[in-house]
């Protein structure tokens, strides 16, 4: 059976059709019709990331994508709706390809499509599915680490918007096979001259027993871009998923609530996010871990700083459904401007007697004592404030190999430079 028929049998398109006007449960409602459907593969492939313009290279570097591909195990670049570059030849342990090509190569991959993210979740997932029905599943990437391999260098994947009023959709599938380790750096950005666009990225991740994925995402959108990533992660026995998310540049509205299903025994999911709200950005980022198997552990840590007139909703949700699971949620916010706003929503849900879950949330202004302390060391008040904000956001990212940890720290430093 061809892929479209398989998905039809699974009612993917029927579900999507029904959900095409379904508002997301949280976040501002975006009028999808205001954006244009760009043709798939409208842009030509390039041979080398070095062929990109200097400006684009700089834009990509800001979100952790190195066009020289140093210390990388693979690269993928999608501009608007076209996959213009893939480098799959850097590691024997890892496969990187366009999702369309992967689906042609691997019949079994169809089982992983619209499985951990539902097409009828809201109108954005529905739109992505309905586009796929029309054009085929061609936008997005497939990354897979082969069984028993451990590639410490990260794959870099980038979604770039280059044209005005575009609605970019992508469907990504990431699989870590048994006992393998996979690291990803994904950057999303818009060209400097773009004032309005929309991005919907559907990402489905699967961690087989004993595997590990670290997924570090840096966003650098333009001020009038609407962003709706939709992410689901299935974590198998003894597998570990680590998600790091960094956003410090202005955006119009961004709403995401990635969900990890810890269905495997002793599985583990950690979400760490750094959000800096600027101008009139509305940022609504949550992380959800469902602890569905014995010994599962979940951790959600977020740091948010609101400036100007920004609004940040920092959400976290841990749900324990079986005994002997453990979860912790930590959400700290700093409100820097009276016109800005932080709303911390930590949720704990326990439906078994023998489990352990806790949360810690604190939202406030910069402490005067801390500013005074630093000024008493000869640091000006302005510099002291900036040091405190940067220090507050600069959390220790856990679980990365040394080299990647150092690179991630650089990415964080770069993102915090403007704070």
């Amino acid at each position: 059976m061809v892929l479209m028929d398989v998905l039809s049998v699974r009612n993917v398109y029927e579900d999507a059709e029904r959900a095409k006007d379904k508002k997301a449960p949280i976040g501002a409602d975006v009028t999808i019709e205001n954006f244009t459907d760009e043709t798939v593969n409208a842009l030509d492939m390039i041979d080398d990331l070095g062929d990109l313009s200097k400006q684009t290279k700089e834009d990509l570097l800001k979100v952790g994508v190195d066009t020289e591909e140093k210390n990388r195990s693979g690269s993928f670049l999608q501009v608007d709706q076209s996959n213009i570059f893939t480098n799959n030849s850097m590691s024997d342990s890892i496969e990187v390809m366009n999702i369309g090509i992967a689906l042609e190569k691997y019949n079994w991959l169809e089982d992983y499509i619209w499985n951990v993210v539902k097409p009828d979740a809201d109108k954005y997932t529905a739109k992505t599915a309905l586009r796929e029905k029309e054009d085929g599943i061609k936008s997005g990437y497939f990354v897979r680490s082969l069984p028993g391999t451990c590639e410490v260098m990260p794959v870099q994947a980038c979604m770039f918007i280059s044209d005005e009023d575009i609605m970019q959709t992508a469907h990504n599938v990431i699989i870590a096979e048994e006992n393998s380790e996979l690291h990803l750096i994904t950057g999303c950005a818009t060209g400097d001259d773009i004032s309005s666009a929309m991005h919907v990225g559907v990402s489905e991740m699967y961690l087989k027993p004993g595997s590990k994925i670290t997924f570090t995402m840096v966003h650098n959108w333009a001020e009038q871009v609407e962003v709706r990533p939709r992410t689901g992660v299935k974590v198998g026995d003894n597998a570990t998923y680590i998600n790091n998310y960094i956003l410090t540049s202005p955006v119009s509205t961004l709403q995401s609530y990635p969900t990890a299903y810890c269905d495997g025994k002793n599985s583990r999911a950690i979400f760490q996010s750094i959000q800096g709200g600027k101008k009139d950005s509305i940022i609504d980022v949550g992380s959800r871990v469902l602890l569905n198997a014995e010994g599962a552990r979940g951790e959600v840590i977020s740091r948010a700083v609101s400036q100007d007139e920004s609004k940040i909703y920092a959400r976290g949700h841990l749900a324990g459904t079986v005994p002997n699971v453990k979860g912790h949620l930590e959400c700290h916010g700093l409100v820097l401007d009276d016109n800005s706003f932080i709303y911390a929503v930590p949720e704990l849900e326990a439906s078994s007697a023998n489990l352990e879950m806790s949360h810690e949330a604190a939202v406030g202004k910069i402490s005067e004592d801390e500013i005074n302390y630093l000024t008493s060391r000869g640091i000006t008040e302005e510099d002291a404030e900036s040091m405190i904000v940067r220090g507050f956001l600069n959390m220790d990212i856990k679980g990365l190999p040394d080299e990647l940890a150092a690179q991630t720290q650089q990415m964080i430093d770069m993102s915090l430079d403007g704070m």
């Binding site: 302390y373 630093l374 008493s376 060391r377 000869g378 507050f392 956001l393 600069n394």
Partner: protein, 251 residues
Amino acid sequence: MLLEIENLAVEVAGKRVLKDINLSIDEGETHVLLGPNGAGKSTLFLTILGFPQYDVVQGSIKFKGQDITNLTTAERVKLGIGVSFQSPPSIRGVSVRDLLKIESNQDIKEELNPRMKELAKQLKFSDEFLDRDVNYGFSGGEVKRSEILQLLAQMPDFTMFDEPDSGVDIENVELLASEIGTLLDKDKTQRNRKRSGLLITHLGYILNFVSADKAHVLMNGVISCSGNPNDILEDIRKNGFNGCVECAQCL
């Protein structure tokens, strides 16, 4: 005079805490400020330092001949004033190492200079310790040693110490006292001393290890008595601060 305070009156949140303070400290001198809880010792310190919540409503503070009453804290520190706090705040994400670099005027991207590394070792800090967030989860003794280490990075001309020995075990008091001595040029002969200091102490224990030239007793927002540190301490030990009240009434 290095520091000259004249007719100083200070209000905190509209309440007058210091009433009429006159105090002069010359180059190379170490003074001690004594007084019961709530007398205004810390207020005087933080006013000299220029923290914004301390309103000078009368009088002036001069440092090195310059009127600093309206300067910001950072500007005063740049002129050569330093302080060790009794209970400093902890700051997430700001490491001791980064502070030491800033305090010793080093580029933050460079490796910490060898002098500071050596001093850190002398103050019993491991290299890893320097990467910890400042004061975060530090023990009482670690806080005090870190304060002194930061001052050694700055080497101010005038240093104020707020209860440098409180919460420190006996063994470490000597270590701290020796570094406080360095900050106050105690290794030099009196004639050659340049650096000056003001110590706040409750019990005067630190004076067994750091010599002082003059003591002042602060009571109810005024300096009620000044003189030889040993005599004044002896008096307070015998008669408590009540003796000073009587003394103030005599003045």
